[in-house]
Symmetry: C2
Subunit: 227 residues, 2 copies
DNA sequence: TTAGAACACAAGTATCTACTTGCATAGGGA
DNA sequence: TCCCTATGCAAGTAGATACTTGTGTTCTAA
């Protein structure tokens, strides 16, 4: 009557790792961690997530691969840390747009688009991190929130112009605006300097031309429903 | 006076491979090759390019990994063969739209979009193959041509409505339309069945609302230039 | 009928890359 | 000064996966 022959695997996958999240860092350590993040950002930006190796990040930072794992548990954690940072930073900037409410619809949406384009140009690695990298749940949540901030900004502006527009319709149009934005952004990232300015104008046109009929053609059946 | 001590590496990487492009196929071989392509399409569609292993393709086709390499030199060649097939097939369909020239601008562009959405729904693996897979030069060319067919279709329709529009402007607007299309298509691929219909309408709206002002607001400076 | 070519696969190999181990040094609080 | 902990790395390991080798089987053309 052997009931508990094997007691060992109390926890199936003992996560043995040199990385300790509770470890106390000294000044040198803090600097290393930041340097590793900067190095990772540079390499992710050059090669994209999948082509980037942890060895390349370590080399870029001027440390050995083993040292990298003193500061991050794995590759995904590095991408997640960067993606979270950027997503929060970008959401912050978007929320600050027209905090005084002085811009009209076109100006506000144009400003939103400009801000997002500027951010993506300043952080070229942001795109691959958000699009291609597998992220931790926390980073995924930050990414989701970022998208929501964009959508809500547009939805709020639509309803401010046209209060009879239902919440769900407004959100839907915000989502479509985001899709348009992303579609053009993909090309913007690889466009030649000459093509870029033209594409930036096209970006504004594409989003605004999609949205403005929502406000003007408001009598067409489905377009207006009360919440 | 040793001049040519090492003669061996006449060609640095002797590409030794069991695959022979000139091999004559019998009926069984042809069927195997087609079955492997079908299996690859299924697995690529389920897992995406990078997550798909050649072993998984072989298993899906019910053959051993070694057999797969009798018919294709490497993984990329499988993706390239499928991508080329699909790109040519889709370009063909696009070129056949309104061959009699009876549709007006809105109808023609709407039909173009519908055709492309239908194709992507019929071949879900097409997206990952064209977006994520590294392709052979030949397949890349087929992909480029496919994009050009879309752009040229729209450019030609724009200039048919507004002959004073310059060729380069028309092509530019065609390109932007393609970016918008792709941006929304990305979401369409993962949308719930309920959201799909609404997104399909949004797709038409987004592209047409971007394009129609090109025809109507033709007095605004840059918009019209002679070729 | 038979030889050569095409088909098929079990059992590998080669390589790449995320991640560890074991040990040595630096640093700061007691 | 002493000791504990953080930092650092050379030299690995482990596991995944694209691709091969060697060998036997089936087809087909002469």
């Amino acid at each position: 009557m052997q009931v508990f022959t094997y007691m060992i695997p109390f926890c199936e996958n003992p996560p043995v790792s040199v990385f300790d999240p509770n470890r106390k860092r000294n000044a040198r350590g803090e600097q290393r961690q930041q340097a590793l993040l900067r190095a990772a950002a540079a390499v992710f930006g050059r090669l994209g997530y999948h082509e980037t190796t942890t060895n390349a990040i370590a080399t870029e930072a001027g440390v050995s691969p083993a040292t990298l794992y003193q500061f991050f548990p794995n590759k995904e954690a590095i991408a997640s840390a960067l993606a979270s940072m950027y997503a929060r930073e970008m959401a912050e900037v978007e929320r600050a747009i027209d905090s005084e409410g002085v811009l009209d619809f076109t100006e506000a949406v144009g400003e939103l688009i400009d801000v997002c384009m500027r951010f993506n140009r300043k952080r070229p690695e942001f795109h691959t991190l958000v699009v291609n990298a597998p992220l931790s749940p926390a980073a995924r949540e930050d990414k989701r929130v970022l998208g929501q901030v964009f959508v809500d900004f547009i939805a709020a502006r639509l309803r401010r112009e046209l209060p009879t527009l239902s919440r769900s319709e407004a959100v839907h149009h915000g989502q479509v605006a985001l899709m348009i934005f992303r579609g053009i952004l993909d090309e913007l990232a690889v466009a030649s300097p000459h093509a870029r300015q033209r594409l930036q104008q096209a970006m504004r046109n594409a989003v605004l031309r999609y949205l403005t009929p929502v406000l003007t053609e408001s009598k067409t059946g489905r377009a207006v429903r009360s919440a």
